[in-house]
């Protein structure tokens, strides 16, 4: 499942933040490597919520640092559902 979720996250980041797919990997920091700021983080979570249909708790946003963190959070929510 990890690969499928990663591809979707990659697709959203590419489209929303005008990045190249090659820039995005599981270990990349969203802030340090991809240059997202707090507004971008909220918009990313919003896009993921729309895509997957569940709600991220606000504090969850602050625990996300890397692309892999997002993929992990999504997988845990998908498994719970």
């Amino acid at each position: 499942m990890s690969s499928e979720v990663f591809e979707k996250v990659q697709e959203i980041i590419v489209e929303q933040f005008e990045k190249e797919p090659s820039e995005i990997s599981m270990d990349k920091s969203l802030v340090e490597d991809l240059g997202l700021d707090s507004l971008d983080m909220f918009d990313l979570i919003c896009a993921l919520e729309k895509e997957y249909g569940f709600h991220f708790e606000r504090e969850m946003g602050s625990s996300i640092e890397t692309v892999g963190d997002i993929v992990g959070q999504l997988e845990r929510n998908i498994n719970k559902a």
Partner: protein
């Protein structure tokens, strides 16, 4: 007293986004108003035509800035970028403490606001809304976003007085420099087109009806068969500088703003007052220390509404008599609302510098209820020393700007 000069301009309009195209459209009397196929799914609209800026690619603006901009802010941003380039100001001068900004629009980011409201109401509630939506639709979105993009740290004066939003921005910039608070002011405004505007003015009986199949003839300032305004979009930006500051850095000076006034009718929320219009023109002339006969061209507000054009013509007649050439360019563009004041000031500057006075498009038979004025019927090649640009807004807010050759 500190003098205020213009050293750069930039704009988007339905009839061009550069001086050559603008002049060509005015010479050929080509309108930028067209039928809006895009509105075919909107119920209940009477006027289905609009003035459209044929530009949709704003990728020139880096994403970090573009993400919080609606169409109106993007048009203003690129207009200002061109104006700054023409002025030759460098980054350190733009980011100096005494460089400020004043920009406005009537509606903020209407397209984003409408999408946001629709999504909250019908789909997602507040759970899945973008964090950037408000920053795109807030009333001061243009001034706020442009200050960030250009790195302005001086005064920021957003304006939002509908049809006088950008003329008041020019006035705020002029006064900031004249009275010593700023050396440079980046000023202007804009409006992004949305069918809600057409619907709003339909509801007030203010749009032109009967021209959906004849868009070129729809906007008819001062003509007897005019029936209302045509909504449109666009933007205008000007770089204003204190004269000695501009001269010291060797800037090319395009013109000097010598007079500005703003006033209020204080009488009716929509019905204009000829007394208020007359007063603001007299106040601008007094500020400029000029007499009416010094003005060689008047760029009228004239939106082609049945009453507004009459009141305006009477007010002009009271101040100037019947000999001063006058035209409204809304016959070509429609009503750009928050962008009108700045764009029409740029057209007035063109009249001054190119000795080109544009004609009133679609003026076939002058309404006998309008005062006897020198309505320009076909464009003229006439040298003028000073020009006046007038704008009037709902709420009885009036502005008058006088620009002179230096």
């Amino acid at each position: 007293m500190r003098r205020v000069v213009i050293t750069g301009t930039g704009f988007y309009s339905p009839i061009g986004d550069n001086m050559a195209d603008l002049r060509s459209s005015l010479e050929q009397m080509k309108s930028g108003i067209r039928f809006m196929n895009e509105w075919s799914g909107v119920n209940g609209l009477d006027a289905r035509i609009a003035g459209v800026v044929p530009v949709s690619d704003f990728s020139e603006i880096p994403r970090a800035y573009r993400r919080t901009m609606d169409r109106v802010a993007m048009m203003c941003a690129l207009s200002l970028k061109r104006a700054v380039a023409q002025s030759g100001l460098d980054v350190s001068q733009i980011s100096a403490h005494k460089t400020g900004i004043s920009f406005g629009s009537a509606m903020g980011g209407l397209e984003t606001l409408f999408e946001y409201a629709e999504d909250v109401s019908h789909n997602s509630g507040f759970g899945r809304q973008n964090a950037t939506a408000f920053l795109r639709f807030m009333s001061h979105t243009v001034a706020a976003n442009l200050a960030v993009m250009f790195g302005v740290i001086g005064r920021n004066i957003p304006t939002s007085s509908a049809c006088t939003a950008s003329s008041q921005a020019i006035g705020a910039g002029y006064e900031s420099i004249k009275y010593g608070m700023s050396d440079v002011m980046l000023v202007g405004g804009g409006e992004g087109l949305h069918y809600v505007e057409a619907g709003i003015f339909d509801s007030m009986g203010a749009t032109a009806i009967g021209f959906n199949d004849n868009a070129q003839s729809a906007s008819r300032p001062f003509d007897i068969s005019r029936s209302g305004l045509i909504v449109s979009e666009g933007s205008g930006a000007l770089v204003l500088e204190e004269y000695e500051y501009a001269k010291a850095r060797g800037a090319v000076i395009l013109g000097e703003i010598v007079g500005y006034a703003t006033g209020c009718d204080g009488s009716h929320i929509t019905l204009p007052s000829e007394r208020g219009m007359e007063q603001v023109m007299r106040d601008a002339l007094a500020d400029a220390k000029l007499n009416p006969e010094d003005i060689g061209y008047i760029n009228a507000h004239a939106t082609a509404t049945p009453k507004g054009d009459i009141f305006e013509s009477i007010a002009v007649h009271h101040v100037f008599g019947h000999n001063t050439p006058i035209s409204s360019i809304k016959g070509y563009t429609g009503h750009m609302f928050g962008g009108g004041g700045a764009f029409e000031s740029i057209v007035s500057l063109m009249a001054l510098n190119e000795s080109f006075l544009p004609a009133n498009k679609n003026l076939e038979t002058i309404d006998p209820a309008c005062a006897p004025l020198d309505y320009i019927r076909s464009h003229r090649e006439t040298k003028v020393k000073a020009v006046m640009n007038n704008n009037f807004a709902f709420g009885g807010i009036n502005t008058s700007i006088i620009i002179k050759k230096i």
